[in-house]
Point group: none
Chain length 203, copies 4
DNA sequence: GATGAATGAGCATTCATTCAT
DNA sequence: GATGAATGAATGCTCATTCAT
């Protein structure tokens, strides 16, 4: 399943894209405030700037909106992550720079990431799988970057580290009640990177 | 707010405890399968072994059930964590043993922990705060254990490490789709502990 | 149907009377505040000083409570009215004195009278009829007093006047929002009595 | 608060009016039979000719229906009263003619008036006040008519008389069990008007 | 006689979805 | 393509009444 396998009765592709983007923006705004379940389709339509009837011209069920949203969030993270990944010179420093950037991306997208932690389970198994694959892909990219930049790290270690880094990024968002008081973002990044460097060097 | 500030019209304290435990068990079973929002109060009553009327003799709103559940989960983790924490001899080895146990506890409670990640946000701010305080307390315990067992680690580092460890525990549950294929629990624990030891030694 | 035709499983007559009086007092307090429909049987039991189980030992349905209440209110008005009615000397002055007293009784029982205006319709037809008969009896007493004290007034006029007087009494209670600002009770009574006297004299 | 401050999600004003009228008619039919509290919203929807969902598109709570009903009843009485009030020649005869008409209006609306006596108290204080103001306005109109047609009557007397007349009208409806046997409507009106005329002339 | 825990039918209200215009 | 009125199944919650202790 992909984004454009969602049923619609509209022919004009350009319009579909435009409407769905409106919908995603509107829905994200609302999901941030109230979560998926407490948000009604009417509210989504209104926030998106069109009528409930029109909403249902572009999706089939409320869950489709959630899918569109989650998918869009993943794509956004992925796109921003990708733009930093092209390896100029495969050094530890370069790895650190990428991870630093990643932490800043998730800082910027804290609320979107919280949505994902809370709502992915509400997707159908099938759709969930599609979305998780995207996450796996991203983790895999990071894993490979680790292996490239720190060739001595084993594949298994690289994989686990990639997961650790990913979750440490998210954690900055979903545990802000625990972390934002003792640390600034810069401090947080600096510490996590230091732990990682130490680990890589001394494995 | 504490567990027994939830309104009930029942006078027999022993019965309240018994019925609420039935309720918590029933609700957890259902929340694992369908989440809080998709579970109806009628289903909770049925699964708990009594009627909808009886359910509402022991709580006031559906959210009370969620609170009871989340509170019970935290208490269970905390209790099991506490039982391992009494310091015999404050060494790195002892620290590792405690964390190892912690990882095994959360492995055992994976689904309960997923419930928390998904549903804590559905609690009222006020109740949420009460619950998060419990988590803070646990993290704090771990932080202090780190400082005791590894006195050279700074307070800030101990705090961040405690948070990292906590989330790495949870992560084993909520990212099983990413971790359970490449790692067994033993491998997972062994790797995470090794990273930690390296970091502590080389900070 | 009478008061003691209401089913009960209790044998001790004295106890029945005691409990029912508690119940009536409790219910009136609550009905004044919230009306019959918004008051629960649990509240009535509590306000009466015993348990819901006990309440149902002395009545069969919630409507029985309403009946007991309405019946008690009528009896109280009637008793107080009766105590003034024994004719010493059948003059217009005496008639006016009785009516004056009646107005003061209903002033004293405003809220009870409002209960009746609002809730009698909630009784079963059968019970309603029993209660209305009590009102008819009272009106009839007044009618006869009028005829005795003002023999020239026709039977029909006496009947209509009696009804007018009754309702003017109630009106002081249920239209206080219209009457209590422009008139004191004394002024109200004085005016109504004057209109009546004029009418009787000039018919 | 006015009629069209009641929340609705419908945009078509004409439709709102149409549906609300259906609703008012349906509700009055049911309230006459069973009163407000014993009538369910589903019954109201059905009697009005649409589904429960549609009902709630035009109101927010069940109490809104009661308000709509009470408001409509007042408006109807007021409209019919107003249509008779334009003073051609300010004489006692004219006053009597207006009051005669008023009695015939309330005869026609007996059951609606009973609804008001029973249910106004169920409105929120705020809404209740709005409705009572309408009644005050009507009484005030009558009071002024009395003063115009019988200039010797004092303001206070005119006010009390206006209230008496109003309640005598209602009384014909809510005490039919006491009045409809001894009197026809014509007799009732004739007698009440005579008492009034006598009083005015001899004050 | 008194108690209060248990019951479940019943109610107000919501909201995803459809479809005529 | 867009609109928004209509629908009714579903849901949280209440409360009169019963009955075992």
């Amino acid at each position: 399943m992909t984004n454009n396998e969602i049923m619609t009765s509209i022919k004009d592709e350009r319009l579909i894209e435009k409407r769905r983007n409106q919908m995603i923006q509107g829905a994200i705004t609302l999901f941030k405030k109230k979560g998926f379940h407490r948000t009604t389709t009417r509210e989504i339509a209104k926030e998106s700037g069109f009528s409930i009837g029109t909403l249902y011209e572009y999706i089939r069920t409320k869950e489709d909106v959630l899918f569109l949203v989650v998918d869009a969030i993943y794509d956004k993270v992925k796109k921003r992550l990708m733009s930093m990944m092209h390896i100029e010179d495969p050094s530890i420093e370069h790895l650190m720079r990428v991870i630093d950037s990643y932490f800043r991306v998730v800082d910027d997208m804290q609320e979107e990431i919280i949505i994902m932690y809370q709502e992915v389970k509400s997707l159908q198994k099938h759709t969930q799988e599609y979305v998780l694959q995207k996450e796996r892909d991203m983790v895999h990219m990071l894993q490979q970057l680790i292996q490239t930049c720190a060739p001595k790290v084993s594949k298994a270690d690289a994989e686990l580290m990639a997961n650790n880094i990913f979750v440490q990024g998210h954690m900055w968002g979903f545990r802000r009640w625990a972390l934002h008081k003792p640390f600034t973002l810069d401090e947080y990044i600096e510490r996590q990177l230091e732990y990682l460097q130490i680990t890589i060097k001394n494995l």
